[in-house]
Every structure is written in structure tokens, then in C-alpha cells.
């Protein structure tokens, strides 16, 4: 699966470019998850989000999630994951995940699985900057 893409970047994510890099003639469905900065958390106004990454390990873990997906859904054609770090404004994309496959169901399932797993295993942390303070978002300790 050497044509899959796993990247960490400080720059804005080129979503359309990622999709185009992954597109093959055998693909009939492209499902894309785009995580964007929401303007509030439980009603509290968010100003920016700061993302910090353990970059080399994050790329390894993203690749591992991709390997799990290819094993579990052999029909999947390509997977692309780009996670951004640094300071992000409202509506900017923090992570984009693209999955292509011949048919749609597998692409939906695999893409949803990818973001769920990424949030469990990929070493990236975010801090919410509110108008009146800041707070690290608490992740779940794996059980």
C-alpha cells in the first residue's frame, strides 16, 4: 500500500490535492472526513486551537491505522491522512482523511474507523484558546 499518504504539516491542508493524489481508475467512491475548528465547546466561545504533535511517531501511528484498515477492508483502494499542527483559526481543517474504494459502503466504514482510531492512538494534542482562558483537551486513556 505504498501509494497511501500519511503526513503531518504546519501548512493549511490541501484537501483537493490529497484526493487527486489518491485517485485511481478503480475507485468509484471517495469518502472524506474533514475535521474543522468549531467556534465553541459546550457553548464556550473558542478563539483558536493549538495543535502539538510528536511528528515522527504520529506518522508511524497513522500508517499503522492505515494498515489495520487494509487488513479489515481489503476492498479499500487508497488511504490518505494529513494532520496539521500549530495554531488554527475557526473553520480551518485540523485533519483530513480520504478513503477510496470501488463501492461506497466500505469507504464510509473505513473512513469513520480511521478518524476514531486516530483519536485513540496518534500522538497529537490540542489546546483550546478561549476568550477568557485556555485549556488542554483531555484525551481518553486507552483501557
Amino acid at each position: 500500500m505504498s501509494e497511501d499518504i500519511y503526513e503531518i504539516t504546519r501548512e493549511p491542508i490541501n484537501k483537493l490535492g490529497l484526493e487527486q493524489r489518491l485517485l485511481t481508475g478503480g475507485a468509484g467512491a471517495i469518502v472524506t472526513f474533514d475535521g474543522v475548528v468549531r467556534d465553541n465547546t459546550k457553548g464556550r466561545r473558542v478563539v483558536t486551537l493549538q495543535y502539538e504533535a510528536y511528528a515522527p511517531m504520529a506518522v508511524k501511528e497513522m500508517r499503522r491505522v492505515g494498515e489495520e484498515i487494509h487488513q479489515r477492508w481489503p476492498e479499500v483502494e487508497r488511504i490518505g491522512v494529513i494532520h496539521r499542527f500549530g495554531e488554527l483559526k475557526i473553520s480551518e481543517s485540523s485533519v483530513v482523511i480520504v478513503v477510496t474504494s470501488p463501492h461506497r459502503r466500505v469507504a464510509f466504514e473505513a473512513c469513520h474507523y480511521a478518524i476514531d482510531r486516530l483519536k485513540q492512538t496518534v500522538p497529537i494534542w490540542k489546546k483550546e484558546i478561549f476568550e477568557d482562558g485556555e485549556e488542554w483537551v483531555e484525551g481518553q486513556r486507552p483501557s
Binding site: 510528536y54 483519536k119 489546546k127 481518553q140
Partner: protein, 86 residues
């Protein structure tokens, strides 16, 4: 450097980095050493990290690891809160 010195690089991320006031330091342990030994040494040096003892995760050489995981000379040990990317 004695024969049984285990020199490691410690990386800290997120709230751990912030509490420690640094993201990277060197540490020397005695062989044989585990991730738990790295944690002990670290807490002694930076008491502010003790608050993360029950929640923090450990990676050795960029792989998730348990506290019993062996640590060898030249290894990189990362300590961080549960991940919250996405």
C-alpha cells in the same frame, strides 16, 4: 560514563511539556532500566510532573510502551497525556 549507564533522551508533550517548562531533556539511568525508572528519575527532577503519573502515557523509540518496557542506552522515551488530536 560507567558500563551500566543508560543515557536516554526524554521528550515531553502537551500538558506535560507545559508543566515541565521544557520539551526535551537528557537523563541517565542505571542498567537494566525500564520506562518506570525513567518516570521515577523524571519526577525527582521535575516535581510538577507528578500530577500526570496516573494518566500519562509512555512511548519508547516512537512506539507506545508499558511501564515495564526495557529502556536501553540511546533510547528516546516520550511522556505525554492521552492523545487528543483530530
Amino acid at each position: 560514563m560507567s558500563d551500566n549507564a543508560v543515557n536516554i533522551t526524554v521528550l515531553l508533550f502537551g500538558a506535560c511539556r507545559e508543566a515541565a517548562g521544557t520539551g526535551e531533556l537528557r537523563c541517565t539511568l542505571s542498567s537494566p532500566a525500564t520506562a518506570a525508572d525513567a518516570w521515577s528519575a523524571l519526577k525527582q527532577r521535575i516535581p510538577a510532573l507528578a500530577q500526570f503519573e496516573r494518566t500519562a502515557l509512555v512511548a519508547v523509540n516512537e512506539e507506545h510502551a508499558g511501564l515495564a518496557h526495557p529502556v536501553q542506552d540511546g533510547d528516546t522515551v516520550a511522556i505525554f497525556p492521552p492523545v487528543s488530536g483530530g
